[in-house]
């Protein structure tokens, strides 16, 4: 089963990448406001979120298919 000498390191290094990314997400404050993060996706296309100036330029163009 020499293949295991290949597959196990591959799998472990994938796990290590995952762990690294997890620590990155912890350190970059990804989990500081979980309930806000969950709620925010509900608002993005129902309410205008652009600043007034940007909204003005936005109404003059786009979105007509």
């Amino acid at each position: 089963m020499t293949i295991l000498a290949f597959l196990i390191p591959v799998t472990l290094s994938m796990g290590a990448i995952g762990l690294g990314v997890f620590f990155w997400s912890l350190r970059s404050n990804q989990y500081d406001d979980l309930s806000g993060d969950a709620e925010r996706i509900l608002f993005d296309d129902d309410h205008p979120l652009l600043a007034a100036s940007a909204r003005l330029s936005n109404t003059t163009k786009e979105t007509a298919p």
Partner: protein
């Protein structure tokens, strides 16, 4: 559609298609004595058509509006339509394959229509054509919305989407010509595999670049699921397809591994393809579209993140449960069982989380077939992950392995979970994307829902019955210690279930056809809907996440 591309982007797209034409021509010339030559012509035609589409508009006016104030949805729209096209083709193939098992004469005596050739057209068509296109399309939608940023450029999303479809076409046409490397769900030969690696790397880079542009500090959990899908599938694909071509002028290649080693690599790939292609990507869909449609945030966002990391760390070890009672060392099998059972925890966490989100919105589930699709998907996700953990246990596997029970299990996942969540997402997405008031026919959605659900249930029950009957008949001995039933006896016992299976599949297929029709009619007939703001925000503006006045 082309009018949204800048002239630099049009030039770049033309260069890419020219390169594709040249590659196709080379393949056709070098492989003229081999089916690979036919693939060369297909590549040439595919890239040639795209070349003319771009070249026609090369000197048209450039877009004038500020693109950063809108999302780039053209590739998402095409991706949805391609997904539905593949759904109809591949599910139709599935009905045919199922019918061949009940009535073998339906092969019509041609080589290309034999079971071994059209079955992978069905499986790859559904998994990669339908599922893959749906994943790519929804990921484009979700990564932009949750990041509140537009994609960084307008060529690479097209390159990924169309390049992936070229892979699917080459794969499916190759099977019909008899080109296969006989690895389940990884049948395409070396040149198609190399092409997919290029497409996939561009996909990953596109995703990371979009996230890097985000105007929202938090990366929503759906993005994690999609990212794991892209990254892990890339690694699995590369390792499992390590092969040496017999010659560069032909399709045939030989795997870098042999015997049980090769089997281990194949199922390390195979089960993780189920995990990271058919599960995590679709969980990304679930975690975005279900809360959106229900109008409620996910029940426990913390749990959704925990179950993500749980799935990522557990799933990767379970592949060896496909090789119980083989030459694979016992401890490797046991490792697979252990992780398979542990996997139940993050899987049920996700399914329960989705269902708990619906608490307080059950009246919507009752009235809205789109949300019901998502609810049923979560239920089937819970059911099939439980079944999977159960079947991975060695004594259960002794009965279930090599029988139709496995086929039933796969379809409870593929029809009940993957296809249901995809259809739900498509129905939620279509009016939003094309700026329509509603779907063309809500009755058709309702019809589709009940056809899909009854088709799935009929299919699964037929295969449970058939599989367990088959498994028990195989292991029945007479008093003198010989086998009680011949193989043909089991076929006769299974025949009625095979008819039921083909019928269940037919219902499901009919539902998919209705869906395609409904989406096309929505695009063509339903009046425009004045869009609510659906565009990226600007980081400097410091807008509140929740508007102060409503």
């Amino acid at each position: 559609m082309m009018s949204n591309l800048t002239s630099t982007e049009r030039a770049r797209a033309m260069l890419i298609t020219v390169a594709g034409v040249l590659i196709g021509l080379t393949m056709a010339a070098v492989g003229r004595n081999d089916p690979m030559g036919a693939h060369g012509w297909i590549v040439l035609l595919f890239c040639g058509v795209l070349f003319f589409l771009v070249a026609q508009t090369l000197y048209d006016a450039e877009p004038v509006e500020d693109r950063s104030t809108s999302y780039y949805d053209d590739p998402t729209k095409v991706g949805i339509l391609l997904a539905l096209f593949w759904a109809v083709v591949a599910m139709g193939m599935g009905v045919w394959v199922a019918s061949q098992l009940a009535w073998p004469d339906l092969r019509f005596d041609a080589a290309w229509s034999s079971f071994g050739r059209i079955r992978p057209v069905h499986t790859s068509g559904v998994i990669f054509g339908f599922g893959g296109n749906a994943l790519i399309a929804t990921s484009y939608h979700i990564m932009q919305r949750t990041s509140r940023a537009r994609m960084p450029d307008q060529v690479s999303p097209w390159f990924v989407l169309l390049g992936f479809n070229l892979f699917c076409v080459v794969a499916a046409s190759g099977y019909l010509m008899g080109i296969t490397q006989s690895k389940e769900y990884a049948e395409p030969e070396w040149y198609a595999d190399l092409w997919l690696v290029i497409v996939w790397v561009v996909y990953f880079i596109l995703y990371i670049r979009t996230l890097a542009r985000r105007n929202e500090p938090h990366i929503y959990v759906a993005n994690w699921y999609y990212l794991s899908f892209i990254l892990v599938v890339a690694i699995l694909h590369i390792v499992n397809n390590l092969a040496v071509p017999a010659s560069f002028s032909g399709a045939k290649s030989y795997s870098a591994f042999a015997g049980v080693q090769d089997a281990m690599v194949q199922w390390w790939y195979g089960h993780n393809a189920v995990a990271f292609f058919l599960t995590t990507g679709f969980l990304g869909m679930l975690y975005y579209f279900l809360p959106k449609r229900a109008g409620r945030p996910i029940y426990s966002y913390r749990l959704s993140i925990l179950s993500f990391w749980g799935i990522v760390f557990f799933y990767i070890w379970v592949g060896s449960h496909h090789l119980h009672y083989t030459a694979l060392p016992q401890w490797v099998q046991t490792l697979g069982v252990t992780f398979s059972v542990m996997l139940l925890v993050p899987s049920w966490a996700s399914a329960g989380n989705a269902l708990m989100t619906l608490n307080g919105a059950w009246h919507k589930v009752r009235d809205d077939a789109t949300l019901r699709f998502m609810m049923v998907a979560a239920v089937f996700y819970g059911l099939s992950t439980f079944e999977g953990s159960f079947m991975a246990i060695r004594p259960v596997n002794a009965l279930s392995h090599y029988t139709d029970w496995t086929v039933g299990h796969v379809h409870s996942g593929a029809m009940g979970w993957v296809a249901m969540i995809t259809f739900g997402s498509i129905y939620a997405l279509t009016p939003m994307l094309w700026r329509r008031e509603t779907m063309y026919s809500w009755k058709a959605v309702e019809w589709h829902f009940w056809l899909a659900l009854s088709g799935t249930v009929i299919y699964i029950f037929a295969m449970w019955n058939s599989g367990i009957t088959q498994g028990l008949m195989w292991r029945t001995y007479t008093e003198s210690g010989t086998l009680r039933f011949s193989f043909v006896d089991t076929l006769i016992a299974m025949h009625p279930y095979y008819i039921a299976r083909a019928f269940g599949g037919l219902l499901f297929f009919a539902g998919a056809c209705i869906c395609f029709w409904n989406v096309v009619m929505t695009i063509r007939r339903v009046p425009n809907h004045a869009p609510e703001a659906d565009y990226p925000t600007i980081p400097e503006a410091m807008e509140p996440a929740v508007p102060a006045a409503e």
